[in-house]
């Protein structure tokens, strides 16, 4: 089985670009990825593309062939939809495709246009990642769903809003020098605690922003990279995926995310490592509580112990396991379909020394990316290793 290497990456700025179409965003990101990879467009054999709310945001379904056009490639193109894990799933399928010998070079990425919907429209569009009959009809919003998990966590394990605030502060701090982040602005614990409530106990600064953006990368087989002389020092060595019951109410746990644990177990086994080998991670912090649930499910912290990790400095840039050195979804932004690929791009740059925050993890060789869909009814986990 061949290894899979990251040959090139491309990224738009993440932010509010209501006048830019999704296709324009992906055109920019994909051009960057193909140029950085240094491959001929004719060498790319497929497009695996993630997008969630295209029908609601742009009246545009069936986006994959359109995005292949925008990338200037004539190849089989498929859209993957798993809510906020859409491009994480696309990456996983691309890895499997290269490993099984079907393709040597695949363009994989995602895009989302969201800010043109406004807050109410985006709130509605995001809500459809939940169970329509039993959650949406009860008035559950996406922030509301995570608020239910936060309250359940507090009830089961304890913890305070202040602990969550430290996560937001950390991730904003990490994004200060990240030029494609939506927010390059420091915030304080007081800012978070005093922000207007969205769904209690979560306030505005516990939530990631509504974002437009795209990300893309070219994945290649080891043989292709060697043959073409491509500089690709980071490999994807593990991939895993997990699912859970759609509705929160139907789950065994309200304050744990077993789909992430299952995805992590599979990815660890695939890469032949364990959580103790991971030196840094990009996790799906759509809300502050989501980072807590992630770092516990991934095996970095025991259940109930993740909530204090940012406050204690364990997950900060100089901590034992830096989490979201990119700024995370919280500060970098969360254009839903683009997020999974974006996390892997940030991780690859951190491991190869090309990231503005690489100095924080100068000797790191192993990183993990965790991408969650909905209330973690879908999750992908990928292990990246600096192999050269």
């Amino acid at each position: 089985m061949t290894g899979v290497r990251i040959a090139g990456t491309g990224h738009t700025h993440f932010g509010q670009f209501p006048e830019r179409t999704g296709r324009d965003l992906f055109a920019e990101a994909s051009a960057g990825a193909i140029e950085e990879a240094g491959v001929d467009r004719e060498s790319v054999e497929a497009l695996f593309y993630g997008n969630f709310m295209g029908e609601l945001a742009e009246d545009q379904g069936h986006q994959a062939p359109l995005m292949a056009e925008m990338a200037g490639i004539r190849v089989p193109a498929t859209r993957f939809e798993s809510a906020c894990a859409s491009s994480g799933v696309a990456v996983r399928e691309a890895v499997k495709d290269i490993r099984n010998g079907e393709s040597d070079a695949i363009l994989v990425g995602g895009a989302e246009r969201m800010t043109n919907l406004g807050t109410a429209g985006a709130t509605k569009a995001l809500s459809i990642a939940a169970d329509e009959l039993f959650e949406i009809r009860a008035g559950m919003s996406f922030p509301g769903a995570y608020a239910l998990m936060a309250q359940a966590y507090f009830a089961e394990y304890g913890g305070f809003r202040e602990d969550l605030a430290h996560i937001a502060v950390k991730n904003h701090e990490n994004a200060l020098e990240n030029d494609h982040a939506q927010y390059q602005r420091a915030i304080t614990v007081e800012d978070v605690l005093e922000a207007p409530p969205v769904a209690e106990p979560l306030g505005l600064y516990d939530a990631c922003p509504i974002t437009d953006g795209a990300s893309a990368m070219v994945l290649v087989s080891d043989e292709f990279a060697d043959r073409e002389g491509i500089d690709a020092p980071v490999s994807i060595t593990g991939t895993g995926q997990g699912s859970d019951r759609m509705a929160l109410a139907d789950r065994e746990y309200l304050a744990r995310t077993p789909a992430a644990s299952a995805a992590a177990s599979a990815a660890y086994a695939d890469a032949g490592i364990g959580p103790e080998d991971v030196e840094l991670a990009e996790v799906h912090d759509c809300f502050t509580i989501a980072e807590v649930l992630a770092i516990e499910s991934l095996g970095f912290f025991e259940p109930g112990e993740g909530i204090g990790a940012a406050h204690a400095g364990e997950t900060t840039c100089d901590g034992t396991i830096p989490i979201n050195l990119s700024g995370g979804l919280k500060a970098k932004g969360h254009p839903v379909g683009a997020t999974g690929t974006s996390q892997i791009i940030e991780l690859a740059k951190l491991l190869s020394g090309e990231h503005v925050n690489s100095d924080a993890v100068a000797d790191a060789r192993v990183g993990l990316a965790h991408n969650a869909g909905g209330t973690v009814a879908s999750t992908t986990v990928h292990i990246l290793e600096a192999t050269q």
Binding site: T119, A120, G121, T123, K124, S127, L133, F134, E135, I136, R137, A138, G139, M140, S141, P143, G144, A147, L148, M149, A150, Q151, A152, A155, P196, P197, V198, A199, E200, P201, L202, R245, A247, L248, A249, D250, L254
Partner: protein, 125 residues
């Protein structure tokens, strides 16, 4: 959308409204909500209707301030997940100023303020 009937679900909501709420239970004792053809836990096909217990216990709740447009005039409102033993239900908790995890609730059907659609509602029991 509101003209569309959702077989199984609408029947269930109507039953709760009449005070005749039920859950589905398979031979292995797993509870679930309709519509189902198979138990989502074990795939068993022998789903039987069991009466929904009269009272449930709040497992978690949130007061939502930023709603979807369909709940614009309802906000702020409290969404809760309550455990009824064989299954948990998600609904809105009304008439309670200070919700608490562990509080006992009864379930019924009331109207959504914004659209008038039926809404699963918990009230203190």
């Amino acid at each position: 959308m509101s003209e569309q009937r959702d077989e199984g679900y609408d029947e269930w909501i109507d039953a709760i409204d009449r005070g005749e709420g039920y859950v589905l239970e398979c031979s292995n004792g797993h509870g679930s909500l309709p519509p189902r053809r198979l138990c989502p836990e074990c795939g068993a096909g022998d789903l039987e209707r069991r009466p929904l217990p009269e009272g449930g216990t709040v497992d978690t709740y949130t007061r939502t301030h930023v709603p979807t447009p369909e709940f614009a005039e309802d906000a702020p409102y409290v969404v809760a997940i309550a455990d009824f033993g064989v299954a948990r239900l998600t609904g809105q908790l009304r008439g309670v100023d200070e919700p608490e995890v562990g509080m006992r609730v009864a379930v019924g059907v009331e109207e959504r303020e914004t659209t008038g659609d039926p809404l699963l509602v918990f009230r203190s029991a």
